[in-house]
Symmetry: C2
Subunit: 378 residues, 2 copies
């Protein structure tokens, strides 16, 4: 089990909150952004650098690690923390999302899902029980249930089916996990597409089973922003307020702030690492495509006022040079900055929540992001 303590009040309707998650590998202060270490490595960033950016908890993908190197290898090496050299908390997803988005030739039944590996085409079967056993072998602090994550264009009957199947699988996952030791937990996942009533129904079914936390799955897949937010509100008003709430696969700074305002505590996204690898950096004035020729003579840092290693030691001109010359270090520095950017953003969000002026702070941040468009800081 995982303890979660709220440091701030939560009103009705549900609004922003600050909390602390107690895991077997340390505390996590929320709201928190979790960098994605898909294959047991946050792309381009060593564990000590993760710490330096302010990373509190890392997400790892069960699907990827199951296929390569396999959970038995990881377990043999002392578990994922030891394997990847990260002694902080780790959340593992169940692999459901990847099976439904990456793998080929899926056959889904109530028993589980049969799929072919995106790496070598080999056939695999994942049941709700198997994904729990895999996550336990990895040594995860926060495990996720197997869920059915239907494509965003699925019709209502398809979404209803996914809600029922997700609840059925969640129950089997809960059973398989049994009583978890202090600091280890299992989160349920709420599906339901953009239908508020299905979201409420899915939340009710999931909460009835009882989990250490709840997650919102199947959103942030390109749906309308208003639809997304009303689906979130349907969930936040249907899960217990004393449990952490995790929005899977979010997102942009604006999206994060909007869902924090609705009571969401945790997020993960490949955005900062993916943008970094493509030479784009996140700033309070919007994204800066530092690979652009415009920055070739810019002696300012990636972002004025940032305290990250990249901003303290290097100019945009140098990083732009590295990227255009194909040097790995350029992408590494951009990624490092982007992680620090999101951690500072959520850290400031937490401070604003505790100070009671989150809305004002958020509106100010959003206004600057929208104005954005500033090419150079000098």
């Amino acid at each position: 089990m995982i303890r979660f303590r709220l440091d701030s009040d939560q009103g009705s309707p549900v609004r922003e909150r600050a909390g602390v998650l107690e895991t077997a590998h340390g505390q996590v202060k929320t709201p928190v952004f979790m960098p994605v270490g898909t294959q047991g490595s946050v792309k381009g960033v060593a564990p000590r650098e993760l710490r330096e950016t302010g990373t509190q908890i890392v997400l790892a993908n069960t699907y990827h690690l199951h296929l390569r190197p396999g959970e038995s290898t990881v377990a043999q090496m002392g578990g994922l923390h030891s394997f990847m050299g990260w002694d902080g908390p780790i959340l593992t997803d169940s692999g459901g999302y990847q099976v439904f988005s990456l793998a080929r030739l899926r056959k889904v039944s109530d028993e589980g899902v049969t799929f072919r590996s995106h790496i070598d085409g080999s056939e695999h079967f994942l049941s709700p029980e198997a994904v729990i056993r895999i996550q336990q072998a990895l040594g995860s602090d926060v495990m996720m249930v197997l869920d059915e994550c239907p494509p965003s264009d699925t019709d209502r009957p398809g979404i209803e089916r996914a809600v029922r199947r997700t609840a059925h699988w969640a129950s089997r996952c809960r059973q398989e996990a049994g009583l978890l030791p202090e600091g280890r937990g299992l989160f349920g996942i709420v599906q339901g597409g953009v239908f508020p009533d299905l979201r409420r129904e899915s939340a009710r079914l999931t909460v009835d089973i009882g989990f250490d936390g709840y997650a919102i799955g199947g959103l942030g897949l390109g749906e309308d922003r208003a639809e997304m937010l009303s689906a979130v509100e349907a969930v936040t008003s249907s899960v217990p307020e004393d449990k952490p709430l995790y929005f899977m696969g979010l997102g942009t700074p604006a999206e994060i702030l909007a869902v924090v305002a609705r009571g969401v505590d945790m997020f993960d996204c490949v955005l900062p690492t993916r943008l970094g690898r493509h030479g784009t950096v996140m700033t309070r004035l919007g994204n800066v495509v530092v690979r652009n020729a415009a920055y070739a003579g810019d002696d300012g840092p990636l972002e004025e006022g940032c305290d990250c290693y990249a901003c303290r030691g290097f100019s945009r001109a140098y990083i732009r040079h590295l990227i255009s010359a194909g040097e790995i270090l350029g992408l590494v520095l951009c990624t490092h900055h982007n992680l620090r950017f999101l951690h500072r953003l959520t850290m400031e969000a937490r401070e604003a929540i505790l100070a009671g002026d989150y809305r004002e702070w958020m509106n100010d941040v959003l206004a600057r992001l929208r104005r954005g468009g500033v090419r150079s800081t000098r």
Copy 2:
């Protein structure tokens, strides 16, 4: 000018020696291995990590930096030290080797060399004076003269021509550089292929001009080892013993130790970074191709007894997983280790020289390297 102090005696015939080079950006203890930062970055390694591996001095390529981003951009950013965030000594080559190996459509005359950029095909001209001006704009601590580096299959008359032209260019470089401030120096380059008499002739011509140090160019290009060593000996016996001697583009641990035994003080090579990027690590028992499946379950470090960041924190199994999964961190960790490996090797060589038992130490290291073949350390 650059001061060089010998901490050990040098016998006759010339043998191993330990010295200290005093540059404007600090001391360099020799023998020293210089990592190659071709484009203003040692591939995959940030400056603070270079320090951590024990790097004392970095080499940067004038040819590459001239073409991209251009020395004027670098100068505008405060010079190469500031641009790349490295406050230690920097040696820049003259670009000669790259013009003769990388660029296309070369036209060489006594005036200089016309070539086309390997990046965009644009035409450029480099004169002896120009390469000095470029290196001064970069802010180099140790500059190199422009030399003609003929292909290894060049006949004797071709090598003779290169020796004469290199001496002519060296004289013009020396003139252009003028009187250099304390801690900044210019090295001459000795050519002459594998012909000991031409090496002696080239050394004589170069020493007559007078430089802060001397370099051996045009070796390590695939020639026979015995030929290489006798060419080295022809040079070491023809240059002043109180000046540093630099073998350009060496090499493997065995080659480095062999030329140290003949009085060479400085080396550079892309080997540790290139091997690292291909998932091969250097060890005292020979190279280990850690990407091989044999290491998938190996919980030992890259090299037993190594104190580098990769060896302290990660298993071969993890690094092998990263490499086979295409994760950047795998190559970064291998590169980090390889640099540390060569720095430890040359540091130990220095200690052995000062202790007076270099030959014994070297023979022991070479014997272990030859035995090698050890797959796993556990």
